[in-house]
């Protein structure tokens, strides 16, 4: 086949057809993958909530509350078993990580004790700061109530054993958990034991 000549009309027509076909096929793929993408997002959140709370039967992601605090958004997920509240999972954050933003999911039982904590997103140094996701570090928070357990590293007079050589990360972690607890307290005053 001979090469097409580069006349203006030829060029415009070609580019137009190419972008049209591209746009149309992408629109199609977008529609097809839209459902699965949303499902993947929900599964991701649900998995994190499952890790930080005891078993529940509802799908907490469906009715989440959001709250604005310190320049970013916290999300509150309520986990229920039939009609009983199993606990609240709060998606919290701190901007003070060693390499910026850290996002955590903190699970509170109805009495306010921490059940477990999961790390959702971070850029901390592998092998140092990223140890915050290990059970060894998380363990000390489990079953503690922030009223009696001072959410600060021991160096700052609190009760938290910092990760060796990663005080900044540990401090940031506590900051995020504390922020989640502040929100937890607000949620309690909002809706007194329904």
């Amino acid at each position: 086949m001979a090469k097409k000549e580069s006349t203006i009309s030829n060029m415009v027509l070609t580019l137009f057809i190419v972008t049209l076909v591209s746009g149309a096929s992408l629109g199609f793929i977008y529609e097809v993958t839209k459902g699965p993408i949303e499902k993947a997002m929900r599964t991701k959140k649900n998995m994190a909530i499952k890790k930080v709370l005891p078993d529940f039967t509802n799908s907490p992601v469906e009715n989440a509350n959001s709250a604005y605090m310190d320049g970013d958004t916290l999300y509150v997920y309520k986990a229920m078993e039939n009609t009983d509240t199993v606990g609240l999972a709060i998606e919290t954050f701190t901007p003070d990580g060693f390499s910026g933003m850290i996002k955590l999911m903190v699970g509170f039982l109805p009495d306010g004790t921490i059940y477990d904590i999961a790390v959702l997103q971070h850029k901390e140094t592998p092998g140092l700061g990223d140890k915050m996701a290990t059970l060894d570090f998380r363990k000390q928070f489990q079953g503690q109530h922030p009223n009696t357990f001072n959410l600060q590293v021991k160096k700052d007079g609190g009760d938290v054993d910092a990760i060796t050589a990663s005080t900044i990360t540990s401090r940031a972690f506590c900051d995020a958990v504390q922020r989640a607890y502040e929100q937890y307290k607000k949620e309690q005053t909002h809706e007194p034991a329904n």
């Binding site: 972008t19 746009g23 992408l26 977008y30 390499s99």
Partner: protein
Amino acid sequence: MDYILIIIGAVFVNNIVLAQFLGICPFIGVSNKVETAIGMTGAVTFVLVLATMVTYLLQHYVLVPFGIGFMQTVTFILVIASLVQLVEIILKKISPALYQALGIFLPLITTNCAVLGVAILAVQKDLNLTESVVYAAANAIGFGLALLLFSGIREQLDLMDVPKPMRGVPAAFVVAGLLAMAFMGFAGIV
């Protein structure tokens, strides 16, 4: 967000080349001589700032309002490719001297992932227009800094007696690794 934080963060802490691995091709390709490194930096700065500005406007006034966010990659790369062409044509007309200096680098910029990368990052980080421009400029400085340091080292490296299989690119990579290690010292200052 504080502009100073954006600048220090982009230039030193998360250096675009040495920590984020963007723009490696020109980093290895044109860092043989300090002179070409300066030329490349100039061209990249120019396109990077312009492209980030235009893609910001497109993202917030076209893609988002019309709900076609999935066209982001296609739109952004087309914008960058046309901007590069445009800059080439304009430079040729108004400043032949500058064109002489930057001309050969311009076509290479379309496939420089630093430009598209920064444009996408600025959108992902939810920066506003001024912040985006500052962020783009800071990244361009970071790119220039890494490139200049590296080309300086490579000029010296050429005079060294390097084992044969290591000559050229492999040695350059190892040096880049050491440079990246030095830049890790900046971690945590922001």
